[in-house]
């Protein structure tokens, strides 16, 4: 975690997330899951990194836990993007086939 955690002080947690490890979408999705507990600020600090800061909404929120959870969430969101990429348009085809059968499914599969 220390790799991406920049600092934790004055009730604010700041991460510097490298874009070579995580896509922007994964960072946004991961940050979004904390909006019930924290105020979240996203700042593209450079072309290589995105800064994500969390300010607790109340003092009962443990920022140490948020830090640990955010790291796991980032990882999970990146895996989601990766596996979604690997099954291409299959999800769309399932829904389409369910309600308006496709004549030649194979020709529409894009993976």
């Amino acid at each position: 975690m220390n790799g991406i955690l920049k600092r934790l002080q004055n009730g604010i947690l700041i991460f510097e997330v490298p874009l070579e490890l995580y896509q922007k979408e994964a960072i946004l999705f991961a940050a979004h899951t904390f909006i019930d507990r924290c105020y979240v600020d996203i700042d593209p600090s450079s072309e290589k990194c995105i800064n994500v800061s969390f300010r607790q909404k109340n003092k009962d929120i443990q920022l140490d836990n948020i830090a640990l959870e955010f790291c796991n969430e980032l990882l999970d969101q990146q895996i989601r993007l990766n596996v979604e990429k690997s099954y291409g348009n299959i999800r769309d085809l399932i829904v389409k086939q369910a309600f308006q059968p496709i004549e030649d499914i194979q020709s529409e599969v894009k993976i």
Binding site: F29, H32, T33, F34, I35, D36, N72, D76, Q77, I79, R80, N82, V83, E84, S86, Y87, I90, R91, L93, I94, V95, K96, Q97, A98, F99, P101, I105, Q106, V109, I111
Partner: protein, 489 residues
């Protein structure tokens, strides 16, 4: 596989269930639990093709090493089955014969009027047009549910609507059924005999034993609510039969500490169902929120405790179903669609259920009417005396609501592992955070459903034969006869 990988992943969602286990769910709600090791292998395409995990994932269409088109076709059939609730359009029609009520519930969600109030009863012309509107629905099944106020305060109109509906149904030949939601305190043998003659089910409210029920649901005339309700439940059962009365409870801050007593009261009264319901953010429940409300996390913890208690009772041979868990389990463990207007995707508002208020106004849901009673007409679709079925049910307002309620396309929901079992209620979203779109991170409904679904999956992950049998007995609505070593729970 054509892409050079040993197998093709099919769409799935996942979450960490605990430090060692991942819950993996496919597009149609079939699930499995994977160790961290196997999960890593799955996503890296390195699972051994003869391993138990591989075969399980293949059987559940989370991966395929054969034909992708067959897998898509099979998942599409299952998807269509899961969404079968969309086939028939509006089948549940809630009618408000009067807004007057003799109760004074501390959480009243409908902003009721006093029994003597004038101008809050449905008139015959509106009732006739309401029935005509109901029968314009293309659904082959029509359920008319009388809501309130207290419908027994305008029972002559209830009788009129029942007879009008039966008359129209001689032409339409639909599967017609009736439910009356009543506090039962005004029930008489004559009323109950009418209900029996017309096969009308009773849905009443029982918030627990004597003190709790009276505290939550006092009567306006200072009579003791509990005594009246209990004696009339018995009278109704005598006249209509044992299974004719169902009951609902609402959890307030007062009752949170007494959930087991409430369950015991339901058992004592011979009910086979209890629905542990949280407060709705409408009417009195919103106005009095600081006095009777609670944090949703607190409710979820109590719900879990109470569910465990109910499971314990079932293990001792006392058959009682917790209705919300039973509904979710049916979604988790069977391929079938379930009817529950409040938790569908797309939402059931308007297209599964609609509400006809005493003045003929048509709302997308009972909650839409509750908001209207608080002065917000956001969910008014039209009026039976002024608009056609098409103007109301094919309106751009309703279409917009439904379009925005598909959780498959919403942030957070689109990735949520519980999505195949969940749904959206745009009215509830609007009441909770001012937007018809679900903001999962800010939604109490989301927190409640996630907490309960997670608990159910944790119970399933134990793979305890007795708990599994109880869950199946809830889905099948038949007590299990073969529980083993029940003392252990």
């Amino acid at each position: 596989m054509s892409n050079g990988k040993p197998y093709q992943l099919l769409p799935f969602r996942f979450m960490r269930l605990n430090d060692n286990k991942r819950l993996v769910v496919n597009e149609v709600g079939e699930y499995t639990f994977l160790s961290e090791d196997n999960f890593a292998k799955l996503v890296n395409h390195t699972l051994e093709s003869q391993s138990v995990a591989f075969l399980d994932l293949k059987a559940k269409h989370i991966l395929t090493d054969t034909s992708i088109t067959s897998a898509i076709d099979m998942l599409a059939i299952k998807y269509r089955t899961k969404k079968a609730f969309l086939y028939n359009f509006t089948s549940l029609h809630m009618v408000v014969p009067t807004l007057r009520c003799n109760s004074n519930c501390i959480y009243c969600q409908v902003s009721k009027k006093n029994p003597e109030a004038v101008g809050f009863d449905m008139d015959k012309k509106t009732a006739k047009n309401t029935v005509k509107m109901i029968f314009a629905s293309p659904s082959p099944a029509i359920k008319i549910e009388f809501q309130g106020g207290e419908p027994l305060l305008n029972f002559s109109l209830v009788k009129y609507i029942v007879k009008e509906a039966e008359k129209l149904n001689k032409i339409h030949k639909k599967e017609l059924s009736f439910v009356i939601c009543t506090n039962l305190t005004l029930a008489t043998p004559a009323i109950l005999k009418f209900l029996k003659r017309h096969n009308i089910s009773i849905s009443t409210s029982l918030d627990g034993p004597y003190e709790l029920h009276n505290r939550n649901r006092p009567l306006q005339n200072n009579e003791v609510s509990y005594t009246k309700v209990i004696s009339n439940i018995k009278l109704a059962r005598d006249i209509l039969g044992l299974g004719s009365v169902s009951a609902l409870m609402t959890t307030t801050r007062y009752t949170l500490a007494h959930m087991k007593e409430i369950v015991d009261e339901y058992v004592r009264m011979g009910f086979q169902y209890i629905f542990i319901r949280s407060l709705n953010p409408y009417g009195g429940a919103k106005q009095e929120s600081s006095a009777i409300n609670y944090a949703i996390d607190e409710f979820v913890e109590k719900y879990k405790e109470t569910l465990d208690y109910i499971i314990g009772l079932n293990l001792k041979g006392i058959y009682i179903i917790e209705s919300f868990s039973a509904l979710l389990l049916q979604r988790m463990l069977t391929p079938f669609a379930t009817g529950f207007v409040d938790l569908q995707s797309p939402a059931g508002t308007g297209i599964e259920g609609a509400v006809y208020d005493y003045n003929g106004n048509v709302y997308v849901s009972d909650e839409g009417r509750m908001l209207a009673a608080m002065g917000d007409q956001q969910f008014l679709l039209g009026n039976v005396n002024a608009n056609s079925h098409k103007e109301i049910f094919a309106s751009s307002k309703l279409k917009e609501l439904i379009t925005n309620s598909c959780i498959e396309c919403l942030p957070i929901c689109c990735h949520c592992v519980f999505q195949p079992y969940c749904g959206s209620d745009p009215v509830r979203n609007y009441a909770e955070h001012g937007d018809i779109i679900c903001h999962a991170g800010l939604s109490n409904t989301c927190k409640k459903c996630k907490g309960i679904l997670r608990h159910l999956f944790e119970l399933l992950e134990r793979n305890d034969k007795n708990i599994n049998k109880i869950f199946w007995s809830w889905i099948n609505k038949m007590p299990s006869k073969e529980l083993i070593n029940c003392e252990a729970y």
